[in-house]
Symmetry: D2
């Protein structure tokens, strides 16, 4: 039995306990494997706390210096991978506190003055959440830059635009790629909002009710770079909104990635043939020698599932929890880390895929000739000649049906053939169905016309600079 | 067979079609029941579009005037409940267009110049989403006001503060209620962000590629009060982020409501007895004469499920959809409307519940005496006398165990009894466990001390004014 | 104020209440709009209950006869659409009870003897859930029959088989369609399991603790066709597992439908061109005359979202609810009805789409020639000549690369060209890459070979008969 | 650059590839960390496959013996933790294949004859899913046994029964605990159904289309203990229903656990005080010496979130995937393992909590006196004296209101006081409100009466035996 119990806890929780937790429950309750990764946030936070305690004369300068030196030694040893975790370390906070007390003795215990595990953990997670929001934002910037670069490098390439996966109207490939640019720009903003949600110091809330020590919370916020302090201690220790915001931002980004990767998979197919992925972003088959699979695009698309799951998980955890802290909330971390890591990896992978893919311009152009995509412009031509739109739509619809049955394109129809269908068709009618001309004509703001897309590119570059500057400012500190 | 097909569609879709949809598929594909509610957004949008078309000389002034007059007549008839929908009206847009053409003839068809159903529907939804975001924000303001009012009206009432649903430290009821104030304030911001996400004119994107007509998109944006125009037509017709942002804001608000309502249910129980709900917010049992059930709190808590479901639904719809518009996206509306309606109703119901509930101050105070909540302060007392915290924690833990076995409170211990446990306890020790004093001591920023809560209330009122002003500014247009 | 309160409730809930609910909360708490549809289950259940009460001498024969006659009259009036709901009818149960009492006076009240709203509603929902499970199962049988029919009608048609949406090996279209047959067969079983989960009489559990009346629960179960009675009253009134099972079955079916419809969308594209949907299952565009969109396939695919959402909704509602009945559970119905209706409609729509689609055999066969799908068999040929598989894989991979660069198919390589690559290639090598022969060779059980698929079809027909028989047996009662 | 690429893959995928994957993408695509745990399933499956290949004369007896011996050596080395993974081992299957080839040379390659990674992985997962379903079922049996044991040990203890968390009617604690017994019994059945769904051999489906080798699939099924073989190769390699069924069973079990743990948290509160958790299943606070928190119950409740998330994750992955295998499906494993591990751990933890908890019989009985729970029986008493139920309900409601205002219980009312309220109350009226008598009266099947619960316990024990026998039969093979 002795093997399965843990006398250490009695010491920590004091005289109220007569029994000991069993080994299994102790492991079940532990979170060290997961929260290990916030060690740096924990140490930085503890240093700021001890600085303030000394400044406020709650602890002595000597104690403070011993604490800070001890924490720095521990940080070094964790960084070098030399730190030895104890079997009884439930979480990273206990591990660090234990090591500190082993090193500097009683003074180590004074670090915990005026704070509790509840506000300490919450502070660490706010600190870490800001960092994670920035990582995601940085990855998004790179993805966006690549979309701009590839859009510029392929300016002028025409491809079919689709609705309902049916060919609709020809568009510039650059226009198509920039559609994703703006999606990822909205995602960037969502991560900046998540950063802002996390940017609040909760330390000083203690277990749930605040503390009796004369803490200077603003000083700690300043040292840790938080722009404001929390308003209510009960809320502060039980608030997980900032993590939800972060996971939600990940979920929407994943959704956007799933759309882009769906298209990469489609475009890599033999049927579309619009792109060839670089060998570095493809895999083969051990059985079928001809296979070159867009595995990574599929994997990114599939990983949407886990990120959606992470969001549902955290929403479920928080449902119906009474104030203030409940242990359920310990389940917040794993999903957040998973969502953030997944999205960063997926962005990196997709960025490389797009950067290195070979655009098969000829296949795109050939695709743009098919599918009768000039039909709208042909109808517009008739409208220009005075025919009501509904009638023009009907006339062109019949031309399409005829071409389809004969296996021809609209471009193959001569002026004479057109004239037989409707006398309004003149000798300039064939020009109306020229694919490049059709694209070039759509120059209202946001349209696919060459001029409009050039302006769009300029605005995208501008936005890129703005966003990069905001992020740099945060990173600078 | 004739009964089950629909020749009307052939007319609309033109010469390309030889067969007709069956009645069942037509109904399956229809969205009128759901999108009926955006009729006003549709009409306002169409008026702005026709104004601009005339200004740009795309249509004549006469046509424009006929269109606008016709649309206003239709608006009037819908408002008065007199509008007659046709069995073939697939959606509200077709219904209005059909009625317009019936009224003003050919000119009605010109309204559709330079736009498509894709950008028209998206415009209407952006317009409506802004309105919905404001409704939710307005309901939140009222909920928040009531929390402030009830917190002020009950200032000084002491209750147990909990962690793990175990009594932890006494707090002010006002502090507890204000915790929710700040949650709902964050929700307010989320709805303002959702408003901002929707605040973009997409009209002018046409089906997917922009249009050849010389549209003035900025003029339309100005008339409809949109602060910017969309940058990319492919993105514009297939973007549903702004709806996701709205549903996400609803989901987090629902989660907060579920927490508050969980507490209302707990507090209404015979065991807690902290509040008595007004009869107007309770229900009885047809079988058990004694029952007075907090049905509405439970219902609000339960409705969290549908809002979470709405979020999952829309995320699922959007996953892996290739550009640009796909019919899957028609499934966006019902969930959004449901989430918004649910949250507004739940806020209204909970606001009334909180405003009218009777606070049982005596039961709260009695509860605050129990559970040994003074233990922390008793330990702090010993630390003040020079005892290391760990040892103080141990000593007090043993006192708790002793009291628990004897069925006594810490407050019942005399100075002598305390002294027998540890010589550090002096004659002032009993004062350390006075519940009001314990609360009053926690005056660091955000703490539960009377002074700190008074400041918090002031900040809450200030925030209330700021947020009300922002919302009024939006509503004013 | 009088307008907003409801004095009726005081009467029902008796002397304990002094105030009245407001109109808004009353509407908020009402479920009539949703539970109207279980009126028939309610009436059948009440008739069985009153039969038993009379048999057990709890009520008189006369009362029973009056009750039964009254309920039948009410059923008739609901059926004919003549039943008038009262503004105070919270739910269908109250509406029927009120109407009954209006009709037959005091005896109507005796119907409620020995039962409570909690077990009454649960009984109705079990009864209705069985019916819904059967509807879904019936729709699945029809979908499956159509898959068999289309597989048989197109036996011998060869198409490319894909992994990673890359052409992998040629398969029979029949084999491909039958893959969905087996998915939907598993769904059928899931609905039969959901039926079984619902097939339990809970009446007699009363509010939560059972009742003091000498009820004969088995007699009621027999009359209502339930195969067993519930074992524990607390569980019985708060169990929603059988509804979860039903929604889960819907969710998996939706997922399968989303896969089939994804393929229908792909196959309808200009690039694949494998099928042409019937005009009855396509829609056009009011702008683009050439468009013929697979709208219905997209809509079915999109509706997966709402069904997933319904599942998440109900799981969320049930999380953390203490025993026994809590009002949260009233939120169970809408999601279940929505999931069941959606799945039945989607099955019907997809069944029609598949039944009427035109298979473009030539495009499928042409597609099967491309993509180097014979590569595996070519490598197997070399292995047959004694070459180790890894080396054969390498040799064929190089052939593929060469062909790809030269824009040729493997079938276009002459025996000489092959021989130059590897001396093991003999004059019979070209025969190894014949597409029909490749398909025909795969005749292990479950493979795509003609013989294997013929056997599979036979087993599918057999399973169809078995499942139809089971369902008929249930429907027969 | 050399550091970041991987030449190994070229060898495996053969001549078609000119470039190499980068290190990052290779790691991104790897699944070894996750699928390591199915090593045993992989080895057992490979042994069965090689036995069959030899029996069918596809490989020689010598090769088979070398393969089997090699695989067993590898199994031993993995079991002893001595197996060395290579940096290029993408997954466990590649790791084992590589090691085998290193050991026995060319014969190792022949193991892969007639199978592909797609059907190999699917076979391993089916094999493993059966095992996981049994583990969960076994854990459920233990949980259920403990519920029976605790119900028996505390037979006769009376507690309040709740609806809406309001005291409703008194019940036996045993009855309350057995409610969970039946929930977990339904879960058991769900895991048995998930077992059955997994119990199908898919090997022989090869990459997607079956194979040309004369495999004996039934022989492999027999050796691996699968009760049937899959019917369609395309379905077989892309079916993940059996994993969904498993995760769904986990999700419902988690929901049930969250309900039980919610009650454990409530009952452990100072306000309820119905149970005291064993010290081994409680934790303290490093700050508050009095705290004894039901951390483990909260943690179990919180872990519902991750299991729901796992279900949503897998449903999302599978949505809209075209046939046959797509790489997205690699994302199936982690969520399933997480759900299964979580549920097994949670069951173990909760089982221990329930087994060791101290029941505070006095607090339960005291609670049962409060809340006017005798009101229903008092009304029934009046009905027995001939008063219509609605009137009786009204009379008792007024008594409740009176008692509530005076702070009394119904049990404290004398016969005289009752008589003043209604003349029907006789001298036997006080007996009607005796708590034990109220419980004892509810003896219809499934009710809380002592006799009914005794029968229920007998049926629970019987079911326990049946289920244990079924599971033993499966485990026996």
């Amino acid at each position: 039995m002795a093997d399965n119990t843990n006398q250490e806890h009695k010491a920590l929780w004091g005289g109220r306990f007569e029994g000991h937790p069993e080994r299994f429950t102790q492991e079940f309750g532990a979170s060290l494997d997961v929260d290990k990764r916030i060690w740096e946030d924990d140490i930085v936070g503890s240093i700021a706390h001890s600085h303030m305690l000394a400044k406020q004369h709650v602890i002595s300068e000597e104690d403070m210096e011993a604490i800070v030196a001890g924490l720095k030694r521990i940080a070094g040893s964790i960084e070098r991978g030399e730190f030895v975790y104890d079997v009884d370390d439930e979480d990273i906070h206990m591990a660090i506190e234990r090591a500190l007390t082993e090193q500097i003795g009683e003074a180590g215990g004074r670090l915990h003055t005026g704070r509790s595990r509840n506000d300490q953990v919450a502070t660490d997670m706010h600190h870490c959440a800001r960092r994670m929001a920035c990582s995601c934002a940085r990855s998004l910037l790179e993805m966006r830059q690549t979309l701009i670069d590839v859009a510029e490098a392929n300016f002028g390439v025409v491809m079919p635009g689709y609705t309902h996966l049916q060919k609709a109207q020809p568009v510039l490939l650059s226009h198509h790629l920039l559609a994703y640019y703006w999606m990822f720009s909205r995602d960037f903003k969502r991560f900046m909002d998540a950063y802002d949600a996390a940017d609040e110091l909760v330390l000083g809330s203690a277990a749930l009710a605040g503390t009796t020590y004369p803490l200077d919370r603003t000083a700690v916020a300043d040292e840790l770079g938080f722009s404001r302090i929390s308003e209510n201690s009960l809320d502060a220790v039980s608030n997980r909104d900032y993590l939800l915001d972060l996971v939600y931002a990940c979920a929407v980004t994943s959704m956007h990635l799933s759309r882009l990767c769906e298209e990469i998979v489609l475009w890599s197919s033999d049927e579309f043939g619009f792109i060839r992925l670089d060998d570095a972003y493809s895999t083969g088959s051990s059985i079928m020698p001809q296979k070159k699979n867009p595995d990574f695009a599929e994997l990114v698309r599939g990983k949407t599932g886990r990120v959606y799951g992470d969001l549902v998980g955290l929403l479920t955890v928080m449902k119906s929890l009474p104030l203030a802290y409940d242990k359920d909330m310990q389940e917040d971390k794993e999903g957040v880390f998973d969502a953030v890591d997944t999205v960063c990896d997926c962005l990196r992978c997709t960025e490389g895929m797009v950067r290195t893919m070979h655009v098969c311009e000829d296949r795109m152009r050939a695709g743009a000739q098919g599918g009768f995509m000039a039909a709208t412009d042909l109808a517009d031509y008739l409208v220009g000649k005075g025919m009501p739109f509904r009638q023009a739509h009907e006339v062109v619809g019949e031309l399409v049906l005829k071409c389809e049955k004969e296996g021809r394109t609209l471009q193959s129809l001569s002026a004479e053939e057109l004239g037989r269908q409707a006398p309004e068709f003149g000798s300039d009618a064939p020009a109306a169905v020229d694919i490049d001309a059709i694209v070039a004509r759509r120059n209202t703001a946001g349209g696919t016309g060459h001029e409009a897309v050039r302006k769009q590119l300029a605005r995208a570059r501008e936005r890129q600079e703005d966003d990069r500057r905001s992020l740099d400012a945060i990173d600078a500190g």
